[in-house]
Symmetry: C2
Subunit: 415 residues, 2 copies
């Protein structure tokens, strides 16, 4: 395969027009959409409208006239289409961490009601730290035990002590994807519930929460959903659990009738009880623009078409790096079925400065401690030639030892 072959793939890519939805900086190959999605062109004018017209001119009337109050549901319904959830089953609220606390609390309460002896939350040792921190906190509070294991050992921990299996569908470092349906089935057979973090899945890989019969899911708005830095997160609850328990962050937006201003808490019907405070309107408006960029793929085959292109991109990049950069070890699965939308390599020493040197060349990936070089591929705006060129840049950074420069070895606050 040559660079011309990559250009030919781009020329006949039916998803290529979707790139035009984004405001991409010139000269940049952006392989970090799994950390922060790029800016949709629609976002700035939409925010301008929300700020100047809805807030500035119409003020509080916009809670009704612009349906600000309906944003958690409206944007939630759009995300639902991307993850195999039904309308009315998913809301946008708070942060991923906050939502995890809610669903883990609810899952623990549901299991406890039937099986008080089940007191173990099982998760993967390499799960994203915030998930583990929240689970650790909840376990401490409720007298649960958090048990961590490597992926292959997880099934053996689904026993009569297990209350909840909490996993991130696609691992943030390795890009390895769990089989959601199989693990959910195994958890249910063992009498446990499942909580899935879709941070690296929503908008990146096909997800079918209903078909998998998952119990709870949460996810992030600022990665593949392109919602902007720190965008609100989402929460989904399987309808057969939604009315059963309420979560502890029982703020007024989850109340059955918040504007009656009555003192006793009555949870709203369904997933709305997973709302807490007043919706962050500016952030939710930006998130809606981001979600729309993914929904724009629906006429072109939707998530299935995005997935096919994503796999082709990551395969091309992994193959080129394997050929050009023998010092890097592939961490992501070579098997398409196990790989999310990213490709990661490890290097025992120089991962951090290599990533900085690449950024200086306009190839933006990121470093994840202690040793991972991570490259996310968003098929909405990446081209096959980008994957080709990125591998070439990586090769040159290594061959010319650009990573040795002192400025690439000074750690920033945020890596």
């Amino acid at each position: 395969m040559t660079r011309d072959d990559a250009l030919a793939l781009d020329a006949r890519d039916p998803l290529a027009p979707l790139r035009d939805q984004f405001s991409l900086p010139a000269g940049v190959i952006y392989l970090d959409g799994n950390s922060l999605g790029v800016l949709p062109k629609a976002t700035a004018p939409r925010l301008q409208q929300v700020v100047a017209d809805e807030w500035g001119r119409d003020l509080i009337v916009s809670w009704n006239s612009a349906d600000w109050i309906g944003l958690p549901q409206r944007v939630g319904d759009k995300i639902a289409r991307l993850v195999g959830a039904g309308a009315g089953e998913l809301v946008v609220a708070d942060s991923t961490s906050g939502n995890l606390y809610k669903v883990l609390s609810a899952a623990a309460a549901i299991v406890q009601a039937d099986a008080p002896a089940r007191r173990v939350i099982v998760s993967e040792r390499s799960n994203f730290p915030t998930d583990l921190y929240i689970a650790e906190s909840l376990a401490r509070e409720r007298g649960f035990e958090l048990v961590l294991a490597d992926a292959q050992r997880l099934p053996s921990l689904l026993d009569t002590r297990c209350a909840v299996l909490m996993l991130t569908h696609v691992n943030y470092r390795s890009g390895r994807m769990h089989d959601m349906a199989a693990l959910t089935r195994a958890a249910h057979e063992a009498g446990a519930l499942t909580v899935w973090d879709l941070a690296h899945s929503a908008g990146a890989v096909p997800v079918d929460l209903r078909a998998a019969q998952a119990d709870f899911a949460i996810g992030c708005g600022y990665k593949y959903l392109n919602g902007g830095p720190g965008a609100p997160a989402f929460v989904w609850v399987n309808p057969h659990h939604a009315d059963r328990f309420w979560q502890p962050l029982a703020g007024w937006m989850g109340h059955a009738a918040p504007f009656e201003f009555t003192p006793g808490y009555r949870p709203a019907a369904g997933v709305a009880r997973y709302l807490c405070g007043t919706p962050p309107v500016l952030s939710m408006a930006a998130l809606e623009c981001g979600v729309d960029t993914v929904l724009a793929a629906e006429p072109f085959g939707g998530m299935a078409a995005l997935r096919a292109k994503s796999l082709a991109l990551t395969r091309l990049f992994a193959e080129r790096v394997a050929a050009l950069c023998p010092g890097l070890a592939l961490v992501s699965p070579a098997d398409d079925a196990l790989r999310g939308s990213q490709v990661c390599f490890s290097h025992p020493e120089i991962g951090y400065p290599v990533v900085q040197a690449l950024i200086a060349r306009g190839v933006i990936g990121d470093f994840r401690a202690p040793d991972i070089l991570r490259f996310g591929f968003t098929p909405l705006y990446l081209r096959f030639a980008d994957a080709w060129d990125a591998a070439q840049h990586l090769h040159e950074v290594l061959e010319r030892e650009e990573w040795r420069r002192p400025e690439f070895n000074r750690r920033a606050a945020v890596t």
Copy 2:
């Protein structure tokens, strides 16, 4: 007093130039800054910069280069100046409800460590419902009891069973202000801790958390701080408690070293452990613009000068309404020392349609169920002539029975 007297007051008001900071719709007298503050002129261009340059052009680099990661502390330090807190003691995060859950959890844990028999959270029956919902939820979870009473009975409930006194400093309906220092002293003498909700205080009345020796405080960004609809909230913890316990929403941003990606939770030093998820950058940038509009009063005497004008405005309005609208009963305290920055009246039947008829005239207040007509006065942008004119409009709505029109009697989703 005549309307010309009101105009004369405006002509010699040293705070009058502060109004020019805001983008106010023409023909509107906005008396709802206690629900949603108005739009600062600086907000739209600042958001444009954050979106186009920091997000769109610089992408993830902005976490460092634009110090996105420091927003919770930077904006927090600005709010600290308005509420008598020190630098580094207050952070912006999440919602008011979410932050209340955190500090109430921490307060309960601190008391429990020394006095396990203390299991009562005391609050005011007419506290804002979301505060009561969160306290009810936490009490249920931790085996506490939530005891509600009218304001005058609160001191009698500060006994050996009381763990936490949780109050909103200025009541959302009546506008009545508690004596924070006296009640905190009484709580401490009884062996309890205090949690103060500053939703209707921050930017509205002088608050001195340190002088009052308060234990915990939370507050809202979208009311008198003009941060925009659903703006992030803030949380303050007295430094002598800050390192003692960590709160249950133990997300990665509250970790001592979030970018080391280590599995075990180690809380950050101080109030930073009250952070949870990734900071919502767009909302925080807008909030910073709002907070700056209040800090702009510092050269003119700051919160003390704003307070003096606020009292003069609310006094003028209350006196005019008393003279012109005998059917309305004043609910807010006539005594300046007890009144926040709002004036409320009750009417047993027609509160809702009267407020709608006023809105149709461009005088925006709000209705709070079941019977309250609420008018907030923000001295940053309101004039004495506005207070005079608003009373006149209210008089005409009542005298001409405009509230009878059917369109004013149809309830909207959000009141």
